[in-house]
C-alpha cells in the first residue's frame, strides 16, 4: 500500500515544441503544467500555475501578470474555431499577442481563453468552465460566473458580473482592494501546497 495517491489520468505527454519562457523567480508552477508553442510565455511575480494547466503559445505571445492564479485544466491561448474566422492574421502570424492576463487575475478550473489578443483585466475572476473568445477584452475586477461564454471580439466593461445566461450586472461593492488582498493570501497557501518546478520549462 503506497501512501501516494495516483492519478487515473494518463501521464502527460509533451506535445509540440518547448516554448521560450520568461519566468520571475517567485512564481509557482507545477511540474505537470503543460507549456507548448513557439512564442514566448511570460509569467510575472508570485503567479501560480496549477498542475495540468495548459498554456499554448502557438497563437502568439502569452503574458501572465503578477499574482495570477491559473487553475487546473485551464487552457490559455486555445486556438478556437471562432478565432480562425475573425482574425486569422493574429493566430497564424508569429510574434503577435495571444493572451494577456493583467495582475490579480484568477482563471478557475476548466476555463478556456482563446488566443488572438485576448485581454483579461486586473482583478478579474474567470469562472469554472467559462470560455473567453478570441480578441475579447474583459475589464478590471469583473466576475465571469461559471460556464459563461464571452463572444470573440466582444468587450466587458470594468466591474461587470457576467452571468452564464448572458445577463450582466455592475458590481458596486468597491472591494477590489480587499479582493486583491484575498488573492495574495490564497497564493501564500498555494505556494506551500503546490511543489514548484520552474526549471523544467526553462
Amino acid at each position: 500500500m503506497s501512501s501516494k495517491r495516483h492519478s487515473i489520468l494518463p501521464p502527460i505527454s509533451q506535445p509540440g515544441p518547448k516554448p521560450p519562457v520568461q519566468f520571475s523567480s517567485t512564481i509557482t508552477i507545477a511540474d505537470s503544467a503543460i507549456l507548448t508553442g513557439t512564442n514566448p510565455i511570460t509569467i510575472a511575480t508570485e503567479s501560480v500555475i496549477h498542475p495540468r494547466a495548459k498554456i499554448e503559445s502557438s497563437g502568439g505571445r502569452i503574458t501572465i501578470g503578477r499574482r495570477c492564479v491559473v487553475h487546473e485544466r485551464v487552457t490559455l491561448g486555445a486556438i478556437g474555431n471562432s478565432s480562425s474566422s475573425q482574425r486569422p492574421n493574429n493566430v497564424t502570424g508569429g510574434g503577435e499577442t495571444a493572451v494577456t492576463l493583467a495582475d490579480y487575475v484568477t482563471v478557475e478550473v476548466g476555463a478556456s481563453i482563446e488566443a488572438g489578443d485576448t485581454y483579461i483585466g486586473e482583478g478579474t475572476t474567470v469562472g469554472v468552465g467559462s470560455k473567453v473568445g478570441a480578441g475579447a477584452v474583459v475589464g478590471k475586477h469583473c466576475t465571469l460566473t461559471p460556464h459563461t461564454h464571452i463572444r470573440a471580439g466582444s468587450s466587458v466593461p470594468d466591474f461587470t458580473v457576467v452571468y452564464s445566461n448572458g445577463m450582466r450586472r455592475t458590481d458596486k461593492r468597491g472591494v477590489a482592494e480587499l479582493k486583491n488582498k484575498g488573492v495574495a493570501r490564497q497564493i501564500d497557501v498555494l505556494r506551500r501546497m503546490i511543489p514548484s518546478n520552474p526549471s523544467k520549462f526553462m
Partner: protein
C-alpha cells in the same frame, strides 16, 4: 439524434375510467361494459400520457393489492423545513409567519444563489480605535452572494447583528431607512398628540403621515377604520347623525328596518345595508392611498438603464411578498430594487392509499435523515421488465449487428428479449397478452413467443449460490429447475414458440418478435410527433399464492381460523407499454 433507450412504462389502474367515472346508472347500456373490458389499451391515446409511469415511480398498497401512482395517492405533510438551514418549522408558525424561513437563510435576488452573512471590512476612522476593542458598529454585516458577488449593500441594506436577519430585514426599506410598523406609527402619533399643537409637532406628524404608506400600514389603517365604522353605528358622517337612532342612514336602524321587510333572514343583506351607510376612508390615516400616476421618474430611469437593469419576470416572481413595499403601484421593475429572498420552506410528505387509507410511504420526520419508515415501492411487488435486442447469428454465418438505439428496419422481423425479474418470495405465474398489431396508423406486428411462464421465487441469493456450488461439485450441472437453462444454446439457437429463452434464479427471459411497419404514407403526409417510435402495449397478469396473512381477517375470520397456513391465491393484472425503438424512415 439522441440514441433511443428501450423503456417500460406501467399503466396505473387508477386511470381506468370504468370503476370510477361511471355513474351507477341502471339505464346505461349494459352492452357496452364487456366491450370496455375487452378494449385494449392504446399507448398513443392522449389520455394515456397521464397514466404511464416507470416502475420506479409507482407504489403498491399491500392491503388493496393494487398499484398506486403519484396521481392516485393522497398526500399528507409530515414536516416543514428550511432547505438551507434544515430547521424544522412547526406548522403553527406557518400560519403566523408564512411559508418562508424566518431565520437567516436568503437567496440572491439576482441569481438565486445562497447568500452569506459577511462582515463588512470598513476602514476604522481612527487607528487608535482598534485597540479599544472591536465593538461592532452599525451596519457591520451584509448579505453577499458568493456566486455573483451581489451584496445587500447595493440596495443600501446592512445589518447590526449577524443573526435574525429576517426580522432585521423586515424593518429596513431599500436604501437603509428604517420602516415603521403600523403599531409603531400609532404609538408615535399618540405621543405627538399629547404634546399639543406646536408647529414642530404638526410638522413631525405630517412627516409620519407622509412617510410612504406601505402595504402593511395601509391595510392596518383600513382595517382599523372599517372596524371602527362597524362598531360605531352613528359614525355616518353625513349630517343626519343628529337624529340619533332615528337617523335612517345609521347602520343599526337601517338594518332594523330592512329586517322588518326581509324577515331578517338574509345576513349578507344586512351587512350590505350597513356598508352602504358607512363612509369611505378620507385620509391616509384611515388608509386612503392616492395613486401616483406620475411615472416620469421611472421612465427617465428606464431611459438611462439597459436591459440587464430591469428585473426579469422570473426575478420578480421569485420576490417574496414585501409588506414594506413603498407603494401599491410602485412595484419594483429594476434589479436595483430587488430584495433578498428568504428561502421557501419544503415539506416531507407521507402518502396514503386513497381507498383503504393505509400509509404506503412515510418519511422519517427528522429533517436530517433521508430514510423512510414505510415505503412500499411497486418494484418490490411486481416483476420488472427489461428489454434487450436479441442478436441471432444467421445460419449463413454472419451475425446481424444490432445495437440498442439502432433504428429498426421496416418489414424486417427483429427479436427482443424481455427479462422478467420476480421480486417476491413466491413463485409467480405470468400471463402476457398483446394485440397482434400495434394501434395507430402504422400497425407493426407483434408476437410474444412464450406468453405464459412461471418465474421462481426470489430466494436468498446465498442459498442459491451454495446450492449451485454443491451441484457443481457433484455432477456437471444437471438442468434442474433451479439451475440456469440456456434454452437458446441447447436448442442450437433456435427460436421455439412456447418455450422460455433463458431462465435464472428469479428471472425468465422470453422472446418477442416484432415486424416494424413501414412508415410510408400513401398521400405523402408528414409523420406526427413520435409516430416512428415502436411501442407495444402488453397486458401482464400475475398469479401467485400468498400466505393467508391476518390482513383480511375481517373478511373471512372464520376461514382464517381454520386454515391459517393455507395459501391464498392472488392475482394482479395491468397494462404496460414497452418502448422498443424507432423505425427507420424510408
Amino acid at each position: 439524434m439522441a440514441p433511443f433507450n428501450p423503456y417500460t412504462f406501467i399503466q396505473c389502474p387508477c386511470s381506468d375510467s370504468s370503476p370510477l367515472g361511471r355513474p351507477a346508472d341502471s339505464n346505461s347500456p349494459t352492452g357496452s361494459e364487456p366491450e370496455e373490458d375487452e378494449r385494449t389499451f392504446d399507448p398513443r391515446a392522449p389520455r394515456s400520457n397521464y397514466s404511464l409511469y416507470p416502475l420506479e415511480y409507482l407504489l403498491y398498497c399491500e392491503d388493496c393489492h393494487q398499484i398506486r401512482c403519484p396521481r392516485c395517492v393522497s398526500e399528507e405533510i409530515v414536516t416543514y423545513y428550511c432547505p438551507n438551514c434544515l430547521f424544522e418549522v412547526p406548522s403553527s408558525n406557518l400560519k403566523s409567519e408564512g411559508n418562508r424561513c424566518t431565520r437567516s437563510c436568503f437567496q440572491c435576488p439576482i441569481c438565486i444563489g445562497p447568500l452569506n452573512v459577511t462582515t463588512q471590512e470598513t476602514k476604522p476612522p481612527d487607528p487608535s480605535l482598534l485597540t479599544a476593542g472591536n465593538a461592532p458598529h452599525s451596519g457591520a454585516y451584509a448579505l453577499t452572494c458568493s456566486y455573483c458577488n451581489w451584496s445587500s449593500t447595493e440596495i443600501g441594506i446592512d445589518f447590526d447583528k449577524p443573526n435574525g436577519i429576517h426580522a432585521q430585514l423586515a424593518k429596513i426599506r431599500n436604501g437603509g431607512e428604517p420602516r415603521l410598523t403600523a403599531k409603531e406609527r400609532k404609538e408615535r402619533r399618540k405621543e405627538l398628540s399629547h404634546r399639543g399643537d406646536s408647529a414642530a409637532v404638526v410638522a413631525a406628524r405630517e412627516e409620519i403621515d407622509g412617510q410612504a404608506l406601505d402595504l402593511e400600514n395601509q391595510f392596518a389603517n383600513l382595517k382599523a377604520f372599517y372596524s371602527s365604522q362597524l362598531a360605531d353605528p352613528s359614525a355616518g358622517d353625513n349630517g343626519l347623525s343628529t337624529l340619533g337612532d332615528l337617523g335612517f342612514s345609521s347602520p343599526s336602524s337601517l338594518s332594523r328596518i330592512m329586517s322588518l321587510y326581509t324577515g331578517g333572514k338574509l345576513n349578507d343583506n344586512k351587512a350590505k345595508s350597513r356598508l352602504g351607510a358607512m363612509r369611505e376612508a378620507l385620509t391616509s390615516d384611515e388608509g386612503l392611498l392616492v395613486t401616483d400616476l406620475d411615472e416620469s421618474a421611472l421612465i427617465s430611469q428606464l431611459h438611462l438603464s439597459d436591459h440587464c437593469d430591469t428585473a426579469s419576470t422570473e426575478q420578480i416572481t421569485n420576490q417574496p411578498p414585501n409588506l414594506g413595499e413603498p407603494l401599491l403601484h410602485g412595484a419594483s421593475r429594476f434589479t436595483s430594487s430587488l430584495r433578498p429572498i428568504p428561502y421557501l420552506l419544503r415539506t416531507k410528505r407521507s402518502k396514503r392509499c386513497p381507498v383503504c387509507r393505509h400509509i404506503i410511504s412515510k418519511p422519517e420526520s427528522k429533517v436530517g435523515t433521508t430514510r423512510f419508515r414505510i415505503r412500499l415501492v411497486a418494484g418490490s411487488y411486481i416483476p420488472s421488465i427489461t428489454i434487450k435486442p436479441l442478436v441471432l447469428p444467421n445460419p449463413s454465418g454472419g451475425s446481424s449487428s444490432s445495437n440498442v438505439g439502432d433504428l429498426l428496419t421496416p418489414l424486417t422481423p427483429v427479436h427482443y428479449l424481455l427479462t422478467f425479474k420476480n421480486p417476491i418470495f413466491e413463485t409467480i405465474k405470468v400471463t402476457l397478452a398483446t394485440p397482434a398489431a400495434t394501434p395507430g396508423r402504422f400497425a407493426s406486428k407483434v408476437t410474444i413467443l412464450c406468453p405464459q411462464f412461471d418465474i421462481d421465487a426470489n430466494t436468498d441469493v446465498w442459498d442459491e449460490a451454495l446450492k449451485d456450488n454443491d451441484r457443481g461439485d457433484k455432477s456437471s450441472r444437471s438442468s434442474g429447475s433451479h439451475t440456469r437453462q440456456r434454452r437458446g444454446t441447447e436448442a442450437g439457437l433456435q427460436l421455439e414458440v412456447g418455450k422460455i429463452w433463458e431462465r435464472g434464479r428469479n428471472w425468465v427471459s422470453i422472446v418477442v418478435e416484432v415486424v416494424p411497419a413501414s412508415l410510408r404514407l400513401e398521400d405523402g403526409g408528414m409523420l406526427r410527433e413520435d409516430e416512428d417510435v415502436l411501442e407495444i402495449a402488453m397486458f401482464v397478469r400475475i398469479e401467485w399464492e400468498a400466505e393467508n396473512g391476518g390482513d383480511d381477517a375481517g373478511i373471512s375470520s372464520a376461514a382464517v381460523g381454520k386454515d391459517r397456513d393455507q395459501k391464498e391465491k392472488r392475482e394482479l393484472a395491468y397494462w404496460c407499454v414497452l418502448g422498443i425503438g424507432k423505425i427507420k424512415q424510408t
